[in-house]
Symmetry: C2
Subunit: 558 residues, 2 copies
């Protein structure tokens, strides 16, 4: 019999009412805002009431560079949360929400897999509790107010050539990347170049993920720069008086979403995906609330550790004052093989040498995580075709690097398959060995911060940028933004900006194409190589196969 | 002491848990999908289980042409629902959802007023249960798939000059009315003229409001025309294989939303506002479900009876096979005065002559509703400054027209203030005098349908259009769409296309500027005069005043 698909397993889940899951965490029913019977938001009042409680231990799950072979980072995050609960620890899993648009491009699914999933999976890959729609609405309200301000006389003196606030839509729509807006005559405003990003690339999304509470959210929204005057002085969201209305639109979106794993353990699903173009972490509000309610909080960072973990440490932890206690680096034998040069079609054949070559990628990620003074253990997410020799090769390699690799079978077995890792992680996280420190200090100039990430994390030989980019950074430093951290936007497939360069390349060039200031979120985005902030649909979009079956179930989304 | 504001009254509401409201209607808790503790969707299974039950009586609430003085159509709809419950009838109120974007332009509020409101008012004017966000997402997925199809080779032969599927956003954003998309080079596709409408103008919104169930919804989505080939043959949503994915995105949005009035009576809030650019009625699914669950269903149509009631009868009732039993025409003394030529600043002074002049507008609406063979009663929605002489003048005028005008004080007194109207409406609706028939038959040519509405309802002297518009109608007739009804888009302020022409103008010209075929919704839109399908923000948008107060309450939205 063929193994069950993720969606078959998810549909067979014996879900408990969400009020019961909340009760496990001590949340009274009136402090939960239900969305259906299996999802709920936690009220701001309840979260505020947690202040003063001690924090649990914070565990980051990250991974080697992703390949088409699959790594299972979210799956392992969910599995580890269940595993810790299984061995008697009070643990909460904190993962990110799925972006709607991309699910209609390629096969979706951002809720784990196999017997390590969060449910309800269908909802999580569709509108969920509406957080991203709220972000789109808030973002686009501000955009409309910018153009409306110019239309009615432009009292603030906006230079229409220097409007930097784009619009967003949660859809893969390449035709909107660059547009001319305001056409059609006097009644429609001033023609100008404009464009759309995908919603997760919005600074509003980053702010929602980094804000401590609704007041902090509104303050940060107000700080966002939307345009410049001819004299290059910035015009903010607050100048346009849009911050209050945007906060109103986001008042529910900022509340963490409580769901459950297949094993009925609590999970907070809140905040933005896409660590390639955003910082890509579960929200600070959700992570902090979870730390108050559990002894162990397992959270993920997007894509490989070069992007996801670096931003988790240098942006999220730095800014929120979080001190991670342990990290898990997820690898699969198949992905290591691909990093070792094997084509996807040849993955089925045993190939220990390729696995060992691919371990160069793994080693660099281990070294990188250690730079942040956080102890790390490797999770080998077991696939059915893995051979004993291949697994032993990884174990030996990692041991020689002074770390430990533990085989996990949570995909096939649920929490029973991840007990060993759970024990080891609990031990590491409570050992007191972690002494988190970010990669660079706040005072380092912006360009040197980019270089530091490029050299130390990516092992690039050189970082290039036009003089316009460097001048822009210098201007922001002069304007007082020099102390911000950097959020790199680049391909997730390589340490370099070239998605085909697998393994552990060195000496490559990191081309910084564009920089964007997120003054409200509190970072500078450096866009490297060909990465797009608005994806396109493939030649045969998944949408063509997505439909409701006769029972009203969603087909083709997973 | 000043009277309480709508929002103060709404916040003081003694809401019952929504499961309890459902229980009143015989809906078991597991057939309700909660959104918070005060909103819920009714499952498709429960709605399907109602088939075979007899229908209650259907009552339409419509109004004279709106003026800045306010008429209170939704307020009266809610008040009448409460009034019928008060006199011992089982009644459900069915109103429309609010559009998000316009609330940030002018003062919002679409949930009634005074002591005749539906709650939770704040949610209803913000994201509510996410229906409109789902419509935007479904609409824009199709738009992205159209451009994506062209990008990857255009196998269907789309003429990029004849793409008629625009994009939508639920925001007043005039800069997006006309854009050039696909700029920026090969990777972004083909440059072409495009544009955005506000979400409520989407054909997807109309389909959601007219579909009988999810299968019918998907079928209608598939029928939508998105573009034409060089030979003018149409390309549909089904050709692009987008209908299944769009139905998935709309599977929850199509379920009616159950909320409650201030008096804890059930209300279904579902479907699109904006009878000026859309057909503007509560969804067929909600209305039909309510008819199965109650003896009386009170529903509204948007703006004045010239737009709202005509579309309710000729589109919604015709297409859904609904047979309305009675109509209530709402008027206020103040609005009649404005229709009689009084400026807003002078409304406080008694002016019986102006009231009587304004009654010309009222009379025409009475006559128009009678054309559909539905008995009509006038509700005088009482305002504090109304004088006895003014009210008596209206009562006498209406009596002379062979109808009846009843003063209602639901705004100030709740259901106690609307007992007389409730008794009269219950009597009329059960009298069997209604014999509904639409204004024109399906077989009438499209242009003659437009002329029929213009002459008989608006009393226009002439209907004009370019030869391109007339040719287009002829082409659609040749293609088999000649049997569709017409959905007029025009200003709500006048029987004419000129918003300043109050009262009961005759002999005016109705200029048809553009026609659009909604092959899935099943009507032809005739855009008349200057009406816009994408509004703009005013010089001082309401958004500038909207914010959260210290208690987390929304300020400035109402």
């Amino acid at each position: 019999m063929a193994p069950k698909s993720d969606i078959e397993i998810a549909r067979a889940a014996q879900k408990r009412p969400i009020m019961e899951i909340g009760d496990k965490l001590g949340i009274p029913p009136e402090q939960l805002i239900p969305f259906g019977h299996d999802k709920a938001k936690v009220t701001a009042d309840f979260i505020a009431s947690l202040e003063g409680r001690p924090d649990g231990k914070l565990i980051l799950v990250t991974a080697i560079n992703p390949t088409p072979a699959g790594e299972g980072k979210t799956t392992t995050t969910v599995g580890l949360g269940d595993g810790l609960n299984r061995i008697g620890k009070r643990a909460i899993t904190c993962i990110r929400e799925a972006s709607l648009g991309p699910n209609f491009g390629l096969k979706g699914g951002a809720a784990g897999g196999g017997y390590a999933q969060v449910v309800p999976m269908e909802d999580m890959n569709l509108h969920f509790t509406g957080d991203f729609h709220a972000i789109s609405a808030a973002h686009n309200l501000l955009a409309a107010m910018v153009d409306n301000h110019v239309y009615w006389g432009n009292a603030l003196g906006i230079d229409v050539r220097r409007i930097v606030w784009r619009r967003v839509v949660d859809m893969n729509d390449r035709a909107l990347r660059t547009i001319t807006a305001g056409l059609g005559g006097v009644a429609n405003g001033y023609p100008r170049e404009a464009g759309f990003d995908i919603t997760v690339a919005s600074e509003v999304m980053a702010i929602l993920c980094l804000a401590r509470d609704i007041e902090d959210l509104q303050k940060r929204l107000g700080d966002m720069i939307v345009a410049y005057r001819r004299d290059r002085s910035p015009i903010t969201c607050r100048d346009l008086k849009a911050d209050g209305a945007m906060a109103v639109l986001l008042k529910d979106a900022i509340l963490p979403n409580l769901v459950q794993t297949l094993e009925n353990n609590p999970a907070f699903v809140h905040g933005g995906p896409f660590a390639n173009i955003a910082h890509g972490c579960n929200s600070v509000i959700a992570t902090r609330a979870a730390l108050k309610m559990a002894d162990f909080v397992v959270t993920e960072a997007g894509f490989g550790a070069d992007l996801g973990a670096e931003k988790f440490f240098d942006i999220k932890c730095r800014k929120a004052g979080l001190r991670p206690d342990a990290a898990v680096l997820v690898a699969t034998v198949r992905a290591l093989k691909m990093n070792g040069g094997v084509a996807k079609a040849d993955l089925a054949a045993e190939n220990v040498q390729a696995v060992l070559r691919g371990c160069a990628n793994l080693k660099r990620h281990i070294d990188n995580v250690r730079r942040f003074n956080v102890p790390v253990v490797v999770a080998i997410n077991h696939f059915m075709g893995d051979t004993e020799a291949e697994i032993e090769a990884v174990e030996a390699y990692v041991a020689a690097e002074g770390s430990e690799a533990i085989v996990c079978r949570h995909w096939a077995e649920g929490s029973a398959g991840i007990e060993a890792l759970s024990h080891r992680v609990a031990e590491l996280a409570t050992s007191g060995t972690a002494d988190f420190s970010p990669l660079y200090c706040d005072e380092l100039p912006l360009w040197q911060k980019i270089e530091t990430i490029a050299h130390r994390i990516y092992h690039a030989g050189e970082v290039t940028a036009s003089s316009a980019v460097r001048d822009q950074l210098a201007q922001w430093e002069a304007a007082g933004y020099g102390n911000l951290p950097i959020c790199i936007a680049k391909t997730q497939y390589s340490f370099s900006a070239d998605p085909t360069l697998r393994g552990a390349p060195t000496g490559h060039v990191l081309p910084v194409r564009e920089v964007r200031l997120s003054a409200g979120a509190g970072f500078v985005v450096a866009i490297c190589g060909d990465i797009m902030t608005m994806p396109g649909l493939p030649i045969t979009p998944a949408a063509e196969r997505i439909r409701l079956d006769a029972k009203g179930h969603v087909e083709g989304l997973f």
